[in-house]
């Protein structure tokens, strides 16, 4: 399940049927503020087309182990 919030207000939600257990790519990278090389989101594109127009102060990524129950809902 993926939930989208803006300023702590829930604005969207959806289920991702399948996720990849291993690697995404041997050469593509993680990028802040732009999507380099090939695009994850085709309608956004990659390179300069995908550059964020505002200011990014910070991006925090946190991980936690999934509870087994979540897999069935």
């Amino acid at each position: 399940m993926a939930t989208l919030y803006v300023n702590d207000l829930k604005v969207g939600e959806g289920r991702i049927e399948r996720t990849q257990p291993m690697i995404f790519s041997a050469d593509e990278t993680t990028d802040v503020g732009i999507d380099l090389a090939t695009p994850v989101v085709e309608r956004l594109g990659s390179g300069s087309k995908s550059k964020f127009t505002g200011i990014i102060y910070k991006v925090t990524v946190e991980v936690k182990d999934m509870k087994k129950a979540e897999k069935t809902d």
């Binding site: 989208l4 790519s25 090939t38 990014i56 991980v63």
Partner: protein, 703 residues
């Protein structure tokens, strides 16, 4: 006016005279240099006690130059191409650059690699065995054990560093794949990046493969912004760079030799190539891989590359018979190989552009070129059916033939990340049975080698049969130049090279073999060569998910006499059990000596850093805070949020200036063939998950 000018001339004239006498003893005598300690230390200079420079004589100027008349060196290293890869070696794909160098120089039919990328590359450039370089496997599978950490030690300084410190200009282009996995970030350390491994110039990619339409490139240690041009292709770019560098270097310093390491990412997957090259190969492989093997062997025998009477080794059981395939399968598989063929032909063409540039500046005669046509056998990692995206293989997802047929017209373009059916890999390793990864078969280790040096090699188009290995290239370079093997480099005592110079064979076809013993080991596939005898055990096929038996089970060893059995078809183990025992004991002795023990066949576990003790920048951390401008983090350094199916929270603090609409990426990982992104499109925030380029899910904000 006249007076002034004359005064000026006179003054200059006197100055000239004074300088002339002062410079009587100029450049430091090169023959007195002790090149066994690198860098060669500068001499200590005495202080002067003379007041006026006009009355003093400057000391000899210290400079390290390469020995007089020394050749330039070029190593071309193709990626994932086996013994029958080139047209000179009987292959069906045209490689005129390779063929031309072989026809005007030498070619070897008994030249071996380690069976896999990083190990071959480290061994090739250091003159030492792969485990001695801590490169028992690819960098992504490093463990805590010496021999397999993936972190090159200080006591095996490579040939680039030796040449650089001896007066050469050095440059590397293309694939590197030798930086320890966790060291490829902004924080380094940079010791194992190309520019600290002896190269003045580096233009290429650090990992094992790259999307050739949209590569991740570094120039030295700085990321390169690739032009946003749909026709951009990395092979053309790296060649343009290498041609420009060579011409510029020679223009500035004609007397200073260069060393170029040109290592294309081709023909490793993804097989990316422009349509006009692909069109040239349409319909050329309809006969299929079984017939193709026979055709290749016939050509090899006809040319004397392979002894008369050599039999085709049986293909592995897992490779289907071509004539039993469905029409759809044949259509897909031939297309895959047509794209691969185009990729190879284009690669050889690009190599040709570099060689042509060297010729244009008058340097071809005195350049020693090694065209190593493969860092290991051809890759069977495409599995039975090939792949539209190689990433499915890494994520244990099977692609079906009907699925792949949807992409048949786009195969090789930006929209695919393809690999080919394994049957073709076996064909390009003819006459052998196995492929890349299988260090215990010549199909995994043997590759074509052309050596070209008109000034130093009298022969034209001659075959050499002496057993050699990638570790022999560096000693050959040193002997050709006339440089000693250094004992100390950068203050560290060096481990003597295991490699043997090939120079003795250059002008003597019948010279007795000098590289008599060689061990082979890769993830448990292991073998030993000694004086023509070859003993081996097949531990795991590339497509098998686990080893066939434990490492201490020696029941499946085979013995061959390579002097009479070129393709390894007559197993003599039952006939000569004492010889086999002797060879097995020799293997253990060589393995121990070269840090190959303990052998680590835990193929899947080794991808997990935590499990095998490989450093992980994100170890113990569950949270990472990033900011603007932080780009280019590869999966080896970025927080592992996909392994073991973890759940993640991404929080972005942003500001949208008054009166503007927010648009663009906040954070993205991966790309067209798999990944996720948090972004805003025309003011609407969203999160997309791209499953292997096959399934896309978008979660968009409502309103």
């Amino acid at each position: 006016m006249k007076n002034n000018r004359m005064k000026g001339k006179t003054a200059l004239g006197i100055l000239g005279l004074a300088l002339g006498s002062a410079c009587a003893a100029t450049a430091f005598a090169q023959k007195d240099l002790d090149r066994t300690t690198l860098p060669i230390p500068e001499p200590r200079l005495p202080v002067s006690q003379v007041l006026d420079a006009r009355n003093a004589t400057p000391p000899e100027r210290f400079e390290v130059k390469a020995p007089e008349g020394t050749p330039n060196i070029i190593i071309v290293l193709i990626d994932d191409l086996g013994f029958a890869g080139t047209s000179a070696y009987g292959g069906p794909i045209s490689t005129p650059t390779f063929d031309g160098l072989a026809q005007n120089g030498l070619f070897y039919n008994n030249f071996h690699t380690t069976a896999v990328s990083s190990p071959t590359r480290a061994a090739l450039k250091s003159g030492r065995n792969h485990h001695v370089n801590n490169m028992g496997g690819i960098i992504e599978t490093g463990t805590a054990f010496p021999g397999n950490t993936g972190q090159i030690p200080q006591n095996v300084a490579p040939v680039a560093e030796m040449l650089r410190l001896n007066g050469y200009s050095t440059a590397a282009f293309g694939k590197w794949h030798e930086t320890a996995a966790w060291e490829a970030s902004v924080s380094g350390p940079f010791d194992r990046w190309p520019t600290r491994q002896g190269f003045d110039k580096f233009y290429g990619f650090l990992g094992g493969e790259t999307d050739h339409w949209a590569p991740s490139i570094y120039d030295g240690v700085a990321p390169v912004k690739i032009p946003e041009d749909p026709d951009y292709h990395f092979l053309t770019d790296m060649t343009d760079q290498s041609v420009a560098w060579v011409k510029y270097q020679k223009a500035m310093t004609p007397d200073r030799p260069f060393f170029v390491y040109y290592a294309p990412g081709a023909v490793h997957a993804p097989h990316h190539v422009p349509q006009e090259w692909i069109d040239r190969w349409k319909g050329k492989f309809d006969q299929g891989w079984d017939k193709l093997r026979e055709e290749i062997l016939a050509r090899q025998i006809e040319r004397g590359l392979v002894p008369k009477g050599t039999e085709l080794a049986p293909k592995p059981e897992a490779i289907p018979d071509w004539d039993k395939l469905t029409a759809d399968e044949k259509m897909l598989f031939t297309r895959q190989f047509e794209v691969f063929a185009a990729f190879l032909e284009m690669t050889d063409h690009e190599v040709g552009r570099l060689i042509k540039a060297v010729e244009e500046i008058g340097q071809l005669d005195n350049t020693l070129i090694f065209y190593v046509a493969g860092d290991n056998g051809t890759s069977a990692e495409g599995g039975r059916n090939g792949m539209f995206s190689e990433m499915t293989y890494f994520n244990d997802v099977q692609e079906t033939v009907p699925d792949m047929l949807k992409f048949i017209d786009k195969w090789g373009s930006h929209e695919t990340y393809p690999h080919m059916a394994a049957g073709w890999a076996v064909a390009l390793d003819t006459p052998y049975q196995w492929t890349k990864q299988v260090a215990s078969d010549h199909g995994g280790t043997k590759v074509g080698l052309a050596v070209h040096w008109p000034k130093g090699i009298k022969a034209e188009g001659e075959l050499r049969t002496q057993f050699h290995h990638v570790i022999d290239v560096t000693p050959t370079i040193l002997e050709a130049i006339g440089l000693p093997e250094p004992k100390i480099v950068n203050g560290v005592e060096q481990r003597p090279m295991e490699g043997v110079s090939m120079l003795y064979s250059f002008n003597d076809a019948k010279a007795k073999d000098r590289h008599v013993t060689q061990y082979f080991e890769m993830f448990g596939n292991r073998a030993i060569y000694h004086d023509g005898w070859f003993a081996r055990t097949i531990h795991k096929a590339p497509w098998e998910s686990k080893p066939r038996r434990p490492l201490d089970d020696d029941s499946a060893w085979e013995l061959y006499d390579t002097k009479t059995d070129f393709s390894l078809v007559s197993d003599l183990a039952a006939k000569h059990p004492e010889k086999l025992k002797e060879m097995q004991a020799l293997f253990m002795k060589e393995a121990e000596k070269n840090h190959a023990l303990p052998i680590d066949d835990r193929v899947f576990e080794r991808v997990n850093a935590e499990l095998v003790g490989r450093p992980d920048l994100m170890a113990g951390r569950t949270s990472l805070t990033l900011g603007e401008g932080m780009t280019g983090m590869t999966e080896n350094v970025f927080i592992n949020i996909n392994i073991k199916n973890k759940s993640k929270t991404i929080t972005a603090e942003i500001e949208v200036p008054e009166g503007t609409v927010a648009h663009g990426t906040l954070i993205a990982q991966g790309g067209r063939f798999g990944g996720w992104a948090l972004y805003v499109k025309d003011g609407v925030p969203a999160y997309d998950y791209n499953f292997l380029g096959l399934e896309r899910t978008a979660i968009t904000a409502k309103e």
